[in-house]
Structure formats: structure tokens, C-alpha cells
Symmetry: none
Subunit: 245 residues, 2 copies
């Protein structure tokens, strides 16, 4: 099984606010990306506003490298993606974050994803460095992704691919349903209490009522702990209420 | 071809900062979600800090409804997801945002996703209302998703499914789970019968017993017919047994 390739380099081109650089670092590290590059950060680097916004992703900031041009920032990268809103007349392939993640994980060579300045986005000259356009499919009537959000969606999609077989948060540590005999015990307990209380009445409805009750109790697939809880409930219900209370 | 089901309701439980409510609204609208509900927002509602942070998603805020309890906020929802970090011993199914999106689009009945307060996350009592845990698979060494980021990942995954004209066939044409308020009625009925029979005893176990019972009764996702059957069973059980028989 092929090892997962390193994650993409996140390149912030002329970012404006230090706070947003910090938030981007936090977004990256949440999904295991650690390599940030900065092209001409407006307020210089390091930026004291970045640290607090990074919420602990300090190493990402400490390791961030600064480049005078976008071309230099991606010089060692084989696959460069430019995040932009999709425009008419794009001449490059346009991919979603999900598609980009798949490509990045599958391809040899380092990948980089370019993100433009908060206000204006990437310029044509930056985009021209990229082989692909990365566009987040967004509400056409309200496109308002900020920098850290765009970063987190890309990082998240990459981590899904990279995780591969890792942590499949499914129902695995839920217990299996109780053995059928425990379920039968529960159903029997219900019936034994219901019989003398004329639940299965009138006679011609009894069979259907029994079947309905059985279906209701069978469908959940309760595990043995849950069945035990319900047996306790039934025992309690068969007691005479304590009217002193 | 089945139309796409409505998106999930986003329920912010005891959110602290108005700014974060605004950011959550923006995150939602970016991916086409519009229905926000607020449970006990710390600083009241409306909150003047929310609007600027929403960056134009003002309608989401204007339409947001406030509820005194989480239970009331999800009373009309058939499928409730609680976003939490995954813990050992979860007794509910744990799904990723992607899996949740698939389920939400495929199932009959309204879905809701609960998000806890910024600092502390959802409390046990909120989680107990949900049938599933929604966990974002995150860097185990640095889990630091903020509220708006958690919301945006869920909204994003939902929009991917909703956008795909892929018709997610429902597995069965069984009825959807009963609305949450019917389930609450059933749980309340159980408790009302069990209380005087000293089921919730001793005192120091009462809370845990209540929670266990709630989990057992919540997990099945019974439909309204099944809930009605069980209400009938409880009515019968509260009768005095007929010893003549």
C-alpha cells in the first residue's frame, strides 16, 4: 500500500491581516497540514497578531517561510493550484477541493495551493503560475468565504483522503444487538405484565397487538446492556406505586 | 426523481459571542443553509455583534428563532445530530460530516445538528437528545475547531450531497422517526410511572438512570405509530392487574 504523499503547501499570497494568517495556521493544523508559505505579507513577518489567532498552532507560524514572489514560493512544487472564484473563460482545469485532494494524494511531487489576499483574491499573474484552478462550490447567491474558511475546506478534504483507512468514525464501538434469547426474554416480560392488564384485548385483536409490540421492540437492535435496562424498567413498573412520596 | 430534502436546521446551543453567531450564519449561507435556531444565547437575542460578523447573511440572523431549551429547539425534528469530540464509550452511532450529509439527504423528516457553546461544547443532557454523534475527524494532536468552522464543514458536506443530482435512495419506505416532542412525551410517560415506583433511586444514581433510559428510548428512532403503541403499553402497565383471570 502506497504511503500517503506529504500534504500540500499552503501559500498565502499578500495576506493582509496577521489575524487571518493565524487563523489559517489553525485551520491547517486541525487537519494535519503544517507547511505555510507567505508571499509579501502586507504587515511584514513575524506579525504579532498572528499568534493569538492561531490558538496553539504556533509551530506552523514559526516554520512559515516568507518569499518575495509567488513564483519563488512555489518553485519546488510540481502541482500548483490557485484558489479563485470560477470565471468565464478559464483556460485551466477547474477542480473542487475534493478533486484537488485526490490529485494531491495520488501524484508524485510536492503540491501547493495558493490563496489570495483577503479582499481582492489572487491576481492574474499568480493564477498563471498554477496548472489548475481550485474553486469551492459555493452558494451562487452568497459567496463569502473568508481566507481561513477556504483554507480549512482544502485542508479538511486533503485529510479525508490522507486518513484513508485511519479512524473510521462509524458505529464500531457500539455493542452488537443482544442475542435473540435476551430479546425474547424482554418481549416475554412485557407480555407477562400486559396480559393481566388486558392489553391484548379484545381477543380478536390480541394476535395483531402482540405482533405490533414485537416489531416495536425488535427493530431497535438493543444491545445486552440496553435490554438489561429495560428489564429493570419493567420490574419497577410491576411494583405498586409508593404513594407516600 | 426525488427532490433534495431540505437542509438541516443548525442549532446553536448556548452560544456565547454574538460574533460567532454571525460567523456561523455566514458559514451556513455560503453553502445554502438558512435555518438557524438558538438555545439560550448567553447575551440575549438579537445581538448587535452578530450582524457585522455575518457579512451579509442577515436574513439567516433575522429568521433565527430562540428557544429556552434544546429539547424545544428540536421538537419538530426527526433526526438530531450532536457535534462533539468522540469519546470512549459512546453509545450512539458516530458519523462524519460526510456521512451525516448523506443520511440527512436520504432520510424522510427534518434533521437538526446541535453545536455546543464555544468554550465547553455540548452538555450530556443535550447530547442525550440526539440519536447520532457527529464528529469531525480532526488532527488528534491539535483539535481546535471553532464554532463557525464546525458549522461550515457540516454545511459544506451537506451542499455537496445536495448539489449532486444524485438521488440518494432511501433504504426503506418506512416512516420517519416521530418528531422529537412525541419522543419526549414517551420518555416523560416512562418517567412519570417510574418515579413513584422508586426506579430513580438511590438519589445519587437518579440522574445517570434517567440518562440511560433516555438513551435506550432515543436510539431506535421509532416512528409515530410505534411511539403510540408504546404509549398504549405504558397506559396498560399503569393499570392494576386483573386477578380474576
Amino acid at each position: 500500500m502506497a504511503a500517503t504523499r506529504p500534504g500540500p503547501v499552503i501559500v498565502l499570497v499578500r495576506p493582509q491581516l496577521g489575524e487571518n494568517i493565524g487563523k489559517a495556521a489553525r485551520a491547517m493544523l486541525n487537519f494535519g497540514l503544517t507547511e505555510m508559505r507567505l508571499v509579501e505579507p502586507r504587515d511584514g513577518w513575524p506579525n504579532p497578531a498572528a499568534g493569538p489567532a492561531a490558538s496553539g498552532a504556533d509551530n506552523v507560524l514559526a516554520d512559515a517561510k516568507v518569499y518575495p514572489t509567488t513564483a519563488e514560493a512555489v518553485a519546488d512544487c510540481a502541482h500548483v493550484y490557485a484558489t479563485t472564484v470560477r470565471k468565464r473563460g478559464d483556460t485551466k482545469p477547474v477542480v473542487t477541493p475534493e478533486e484537488a485532494a485526490g490529485e494531491i494524494s495520488a501524484r508524485e511531487g510536492r503540491s501547493a495551493i495558493l490563496f489570495g489576499p483577503e479582499r481582492s483574491g489572487l491576481e492574474t499573474v499568480d493564477i498563471s503560475l498554477a496548472r489548475s484552478i481550485l474553486t469551492v462550490p459555493i452558494n451562487p447567491d452568497f459567496g463569502s468565504l473568508n481566507l481561513a474558511q477556504a483554507v480549512i475546506l482544502c485542508a479538511y478534504e486533503w485529510s479525508k483522503v490522507a486518513a484513508g483507512s485511519v479512524v473510521q468514525p462509524t458505529q464500531e464501538d457500539t455493542l452488537p444487538p443482544a442475542p435473540q434469547e435476551e430479546l425474547e426474554g424482554l418481549i416475554g416480560h412485557f407480555e407477562q405484565l400486559l396480559e393481566p392488564r388486558r392489553y391484548f384485548f379484545p381477543e380478536d385483536r390480541a394476535e395483531a397487538n402482540r405482533r405490533t409490540l414485537r416489531n416495536v421492540l425488535t427493530r431497535p437492535g438493543w444491545n445486552h446492556l440496553e435490554v438489561r435496562t429495560l428489564r429493570g424498567v419493567l420490574s419497577a413498573l410491576s411494583r405498586t406505586p409508593d404513594v407516600r412520596k
